[in-house]
């Protein structure tokens, strides 16, 4: 790759201390660009960071692991449900959100919101 020679290389500008500060910065960014070209992984990382700037300082760290450990958590609190039912005796309970996988926020989960987990009564198709 043909590197653009920084303008600061000229003798005149080198006299100015101010300009000298910029030289290493330009060279650094050139190095970074080289890294991105040679390492596909780093290029992918840059892409990801561009899309999700707040992705988090600790890659694959605690947040991700803790989410993994909590797999399968549903949010149904029978206490909340019964309290809500008692309060709103005459009113309809808020309708179920269209996305039934995530039940959070103001919506009071109802037993109907939890997807039915029936055992497979049908035999496996591998045995067919």
């Amino acid at each position: 790759m043909s590197a653009e020679v920084p303008e600061a290389a000229s003798a005149e500008e080198q006299k100015s201390e101010h300009n000298l500060v910029y030289v290493p910065l330009i060279l650094n960014s050139l190095e970074e660009m080289e890294d991105k070209v040679t390492s596909p992984e780093k290029a992918e990382e840059a892409k990801l960071k561009a899309r999700y700037p707040h992705l988090g300082q600790k890659p694959g760290g605690s947040d991700f692991l803790r989410k993994r450990l909590q797999k399968g958590q549903k949010y149904f609190d029978s206490g909340d449900y019964n309290m809500a039912k008692a309060k709103m005796k005459n009113k309809q309970l808020p309708a179920a959100a269209p996305d039934k996988t995530e039940v959070t926020g103001d919506h009071i989960p109802t037993p109907q919101d939890l997807p039915q987990r029936k055992p497979s009564l049908v035999a496996s198709k591998l045995a067919g």
Binding site: K42, L48, G60, G72, Y75, R117, P119, S120, S124
Partner: protein, 453 residues
């Protein structure tokens, strides 16, 4: 490895010529979640092949005896038994749904006419007994042929019941249920070479069980930090050594493997050996740790080596050398330039398994687009094969596949961007003695055999 024509193979070489043998499962495009195969395992003799699925069901296939009138049909696998192993549960206390998906099946070595296997979901391990019944007693004294009890006072003569043959009936019954020992999700079970104990591992702990005792289990590894905020790694797989009953290994999400010796202390928190490949710090990226996470660890049959599978490669380690693997095989290196999208669609977290062949001369693992990879360790050759219905004529040879990474795509090649990431082969198994492999492609089970000339 599919060479042109049979020919003689080089001395000691594995000139495999894989051919389609059978495919099990439904053809329709609409795959029910429950039908997705989640584990595949041959038993010790290779005569039985068990599969578990997301619906909690187990299907066991048995190899037919070779038929002299059809010499080419080298023992096909047909359904032997099927049963519902686990059912969905709901833990109301923790508001946790417990999936019925079978995470692992492990066979016990056969000790009598019956077969035993361990099957596990996220929380509970079950010991199943599969037994045959091909005789039935007739001529009871105290009951009629239809089962109605006879009045004992009416019996005037006694007879000895006789055993008569009946149609073979295969029964599966749960003999032990090992429950309530895991707070986190079980990822591995492994039967010990002592044939009396086994281990079960979840994200943070490993427990040791005795096959006869269900109300007690010993915790042998615990990596849970006192403060969960400090959690940096989890256990991803664990296995007992095939011969040394005191040795086990467990892999982590950070790409390391720890070998523990149960003789050194009751709690094996301190490892005896620590296997980690040094990483070049300048090449570190956001993805480094995620793709280094080991999804499977398997000892070789010899017990001298072990193999680890991370997202992009398979590594073979000599147990005597902790500093680095002795072999590294790239499975699909072309995915390195796709990590961003693989992270977004969660594929980067897919857990691929790997397996050895019976002689430890070859290893196999799955990939995407229903491709799977085979590495011949001696000849230092590798091949990419595909499990697809299009190539499912009986005894049809499998043609090697190639992924083209850039620039010009040759005629039979497929470009990286055309790969179907929903067609993942996570589970494969190799017959312990012969060149027969079972490959699970979502809801279909493919069986391939090496062509005998």
């Amino acid at each position: 490895m599919a060479g042109a024509g049979g020919g003689g193979c080089p001395a000691g070489g594995n000139d495999f010529q894989w051919c389609f043998s059978q495919v099990k499962g439904a053809i329709d495009e609409d795959v029910a979640e429950a039908d997705i195969i989640s584990t595949v395992e041959f038993n010790y003799s290779g005569d039985l092949l068990a599969t578990g699925d997301k619906g909690g069901r187990v299907v066991i296939f048995q190899r037919e005896q070779e038929n002299k009138s059809r010499p080419h049909s080298r023992g096909e696998y047909n359904v032997y038994s099927t049963f519902q192993s686990h059912e969905p549960e709901f833990d109301y206390l923790k508001s946790l749904e417990i999936e019925e998906k079978i995470n692992k099946i492990r066979w016990l070595p056969q000790q009598n006419a019956a077969h035993f296997l361990l099957s596990t979901n996220d929380k509970t391990i079950k010991l199943w007994k599969i037994s045959e019944r091909d005789k039935r007693a007739e001529g009871y004294n105290l009951k009629d042929e239809d089962g109605r009890l006879r009045d004992p006072f009416r019996v005037t003569a006694l007879r000895v019941p006789i055993l008569k043959p009946m149609d073979l009936m295969v029964e599966a019954s749960p003999r032990r249920i090992f429950a309530n020992a895991h707070t986190y999700h079980i990822n591995s079970i492994s039967v010990n070479s002592d044939h009396e104990t086994y281990l079960s591992a979840d994200d943070l702990r490993i427990n040791l069980w005795h096959l006869e005792i269900t109300d007690r289990s010993f915790n042998i590894v615990d990596i849970k930090p006192a403060n969960m905020e400090e959690l940096t790694e989890v256990i991803t797989a664990a296995e007992f050594h095939p011969h040394q009953c005191n040795v086990l290994v467990y892999s982590s999400s950070k790409g390391t493997v720890r070998l523990c010796d149960m003789r050194s202390s009751a709690l094996c928190d301190r490892h005896s050996k620590f296997f980690e490949e040094p990483e070049d710090p300048s090449s570190r990226s956001f993805f480094s740790e995620i793709i280094s996470s080991i999804s499977d660890v398997k000892f070789s049959h010899s017990g001298r080596y072990m193999m680890t599978r991370d997202y992009l490669s398979v590594k073979v380690w000599d147990l005597n050398m902790e500093s680095r693997p002795v072999e590294t095989h790239q499975v699909h290196e072309y995915l390195r330039s796709k990590l961003c999208s693989l992270y977004e669609n969660d594929c980067i977290f897919d857990k691929f398994e790997c397996c050895w062949n019976g002689s430890d001369s070859a290893i196999m693992t799955g990939s995407y687009n229903n491709f799977f990879r085979m590495f011949d360790r001696n000849a230092r050759r590798d091949v990419t094969l595909e499990a697809s219905r299009e190539n499912s004529k009986p005894r049809a040879s499998l043609k090697p596949r190639k992924v083209c990474t850039g620039g010009k795509r040759k005629k039979d090649e497929i470009s990286v961007d055309s790969l179907d990431f929903n067609k993942k082969i996570l589970h494969t198994a190799w017959h312990p003695l012969e060149n027969i492999i079972a490959v699970a492609a979502t809801n279909n089970l493919y069986i391939f055999q090496d062509k005998i000339n």
